[in-house]
């Protein structure tokens, strides 16, 4: 059923979360993400949920983790500096395997940077921001529609893989208003319910099998859980043996990377016959779409591979795009964070980085100018 609205990206994030079944938000205000908190304070109590503004970003994600352990899907929203503060808790959620969603509306950095201007400088912070080896899921919306859809999807992945999932929005996508269909999600699109059966005595909080991740039993049920961010055994008790540490770390990577095909989401624009290919994500994908339209008008076979899933990095799709193109360019609002990943997949295609860190969108013309000499 169509439920078309003219809405801001940040609000669509809140709506997508609620549509997916999230009923808890804890956050700390920061530009340009604050509308997400504001919308949650308005909407959550009406659906029996809880909004709380915490004293800082650490407390925010800690409270979200707590709610998730108690069986209520939760999320938080922030921007670069707040995302830095949350990193320790992202590691905690990864290690404890607590499903939760962190929305990052990126702004100019480093540090305070450009508070009201867009950027995509937190791509690598999303990947490697917390200590230790791990893998992570990060989805990047490029439209208000995708703010709704990908936030809902983030909860699906969070529950399915029992992991924190990052929604990498940005100051353009989050603040932009567009038409969005606030559709009802289908049964199979909703996050899987935590169905736990069997003798409580046999329940194990962990089992370290990437293909058989045990659902996290909510506190208050017969299934006792012990959550620990220290290296632990199946029951969740600290266990520091070298072989166990090796098992824990490899498992945390494998449980994401082994399911990369299911987690990877991309969109193709005019890719069928494209020999000039842009690979982009988030707000920069919109700049690239503008460039594709203009180039097509002038007879250039241009196309765009948009990465909705940024992490785990969609190597297969990117490799295929590199294989079909004469020229590949990567426009992004940073100095080449995803470009480096594309380069690692490249086997000789002409590859161009189109970085911009001025706190404003790349324009289609800037992208065209950047590749002109290569065409």
């Amino acid at each position: 059923m169509s439920n078309m609205k003219f809405m801001q990206g940040n609000e669509a994030v809140a709506r997508g979360a609620i549509a997916a079944g999230a009923r808890f938000f804890a956050g700390y205000p920061i530009t340009p993400s604050s509308e997400i908190a504001e919308q949650c304070s308005l909407l959550l109590p009406k659906v029996g949920g809880t909004f709380i503004q915490m004293e800082d970003e650490m407390a925010s994600l800690a409270a979200v983790e707590g709610a998730s352990c108690a069986g209520v899907m939760g999320f938080t929203a922030t921007s670069g500096p707040g995302f830095c503060i949350m990193q320790e808790h992202i590691g905690h959620a990864l290690m404890c395997e607590i499903p939760c969603v962190i929305v990052v509306v990126q702004r100019g950095g480093p540090s305070t940077g450009l508070a009201t201007k867009p950027a995509q400088g937190d791509v690598m912070q999303a990947r490697w921001g917390c200590n230790g080896d791990h893998s992570i899921i990060a989805l990047s919306p490029s439209s208000v529609e995708e703010c709704y859809e990908l936030t809902a999807k983030a909860f699906y992945f969070a529950e399915k893989y029992r992991t924190p999932v990052i929604v990498l929005s940005d100051g353009i996508t989050g603040k932009m208003y567009e038409n969005v269909n606030l559709r009802e999600l289908g049964e199979d699109e909703l996050p899987p319910k935590r169905e736990i059966a069997g003798d409580p005595a046999d329940y194990r909080t962990y089992n370290f099998d990437p293909d058989n991740i045990p659902p996290l039993a909510p506190f208050g049920t017969a299934w006792q859980t012990h959550l620990s961010s220290a290296m632990h055994n199946e029951l969740g008790y600290s266990f520091g043996a070298p072989e166990n540490a090796d098992r824990c770390v490899r498992y945390l990577t494998d449980k994401i990377e082994k399911h990369i095909d299911e987690i990877t989401m991309t969109r193709s624009y005019e890719m069928e016959d494209a020999d000039v290919v842009f690979i982009s994500y988030g707000c920069s994908a919109r700049s690239a779409r503008g460039a594709v339209e203009k180039l097509r008008e002038s007879g250039v076979k241009a196309g765009l591979l948009q990465l909705q899933t940024v992490w785990p990095f969609p190597k297969k799709e990117v490799t295929a795009a590199l294989g079909q193109a004469k020229v590949v360019a990567v426009p992004e609002l940073n100095l080449g964070q995803i470009f480096q990943e594309v380069a690692a997949c490249n086997k000789g295609t002409k590859l161009i980085s189109i970085p911009k860190v001025k706190g404003e969108l790349l324009t289609p013309q800037e992208i065209i100018d950047a590749i002109k000499e290569e065409m």
């Binding site: 707590g66 939760g74 320790e88 208050g220 049920t221 006792q224």
Partner: protein, 271 residues
């Protein structure tokens, strides 16, 4: 009918703490209090952070979570608000609860979250080797204040009281029966229940400050305790360096966050 044995995983004993440490006493008092209150074990969540006391999660036969260092009360806030039927017990050392987690302590008390918070104050960071914390007394020797500490310490019970907590109590770890009683009262209080337990770290704080063996150190801590009724008739000078013990706050005029928020939910959905 639940008994103490329903709350403890005996096979995990003996515990890991040093001889003379108060942590075992706190664990014992907590589990006895749970049995006294007949709370079904599956309705109990024990939340800890980092440090010696955080290792307590190994022993109770209930669900447990180790939050990050300092974030015990922030995590507990989410747990309690998501499922108000749970009984949430937050066990922290003075490093976890009053130092790195001090900000969460004051805000959790101010918001009046309906959890029970127990800070076991042994005046230093035991697990990391005896460094000073926000409760280490002025002048004390620790491994990071070799010449004597030049900072003043928090009076935690007064701090939490000033933040508006409806229940605050303090006792020495040797005062086992009162501790058990305070845990019950704090749990039954709708709102933030706070207990500070003065405890001996024989291995570090005691050794560094020449407080003798475990019994000697416990006696010295007991001698620093002044029951509230007696403290009323003492001068400020007489109370210097002392800890006023007993039930310090017991209010029924405050509404906890969860109750207020539930009212708000009902109001906005009725509109």
């Amino acid at each position: 009918m639940y008994t103490y044995n329903d709350y403890i995983k005996e096979e995990k004993l003996p515990h890991i703490w040093c001889a003379g440490c108060g942590n075992g006493i706190v664990l014992n008092a907590l589990l006895h209090a749970l049995a006294d209150m007949q709370i079904p074990p599956e309705e109990v969540v024990i939340v800890t952070g980092s440090g010696c006391l955080a290792r307590l999660v190994t022993y109770p036969n209930t669900s447990t979570i180790k939050m990050l260092h300092g974030r015990v009360l922030a995590g507990a806030t989410g747990i309690k608000l998501a499922n108000p039927n749970l009984k949430v017990f937050c066990l922290m050392g003075d490093g976890d609860g009053a130092t790195i987690g001090g900000n969460h302590l004051i805000h959790c008390a101010r918001r009046n979250i309906d959890v029970t918070a127990i800070i076991c104050n042994n005046f230093n960071y035991g697990m990391t080797g005896g460094q000073y914390s926000a409760t280490t007394p002025y002048g004390a020797i620790t491994t990071t204040s070799r010449y004597g500490l030049v900072e003043e310490n928090f009076n935690m019970a007064e701090l939490v009281k000033a933040c508006g907590a409806p229940y605050v109590a303090r006792c020495s770890a040797t005062d086992v029966l009162n501790l058990r009683k305070y845990i019950i009262e704090a749990t039954q209080k709708k709102g933030f229940g706070f207990i500070e337990v003065l405890s001996a770290c024989v291995t570090h704080y005691g050794k560094n400050n020449k407080m003798g063996d475990a019994p000697n150190m416990m006696r010295q801590i007991d001698s620093m305790c002044v029951p509230a009724a007696r403290a009323k008739n003492m001068t400020e000078e007489e109370l210097a360096g002392k800890y006023i013990t007993g039930k310090l706050v017991d209010r029924n005029d405050l509404i906890d966050f969860g109750t207020s928020y539930q009212r708000l939910r009902e109001e906005v959905t009725a509109k």
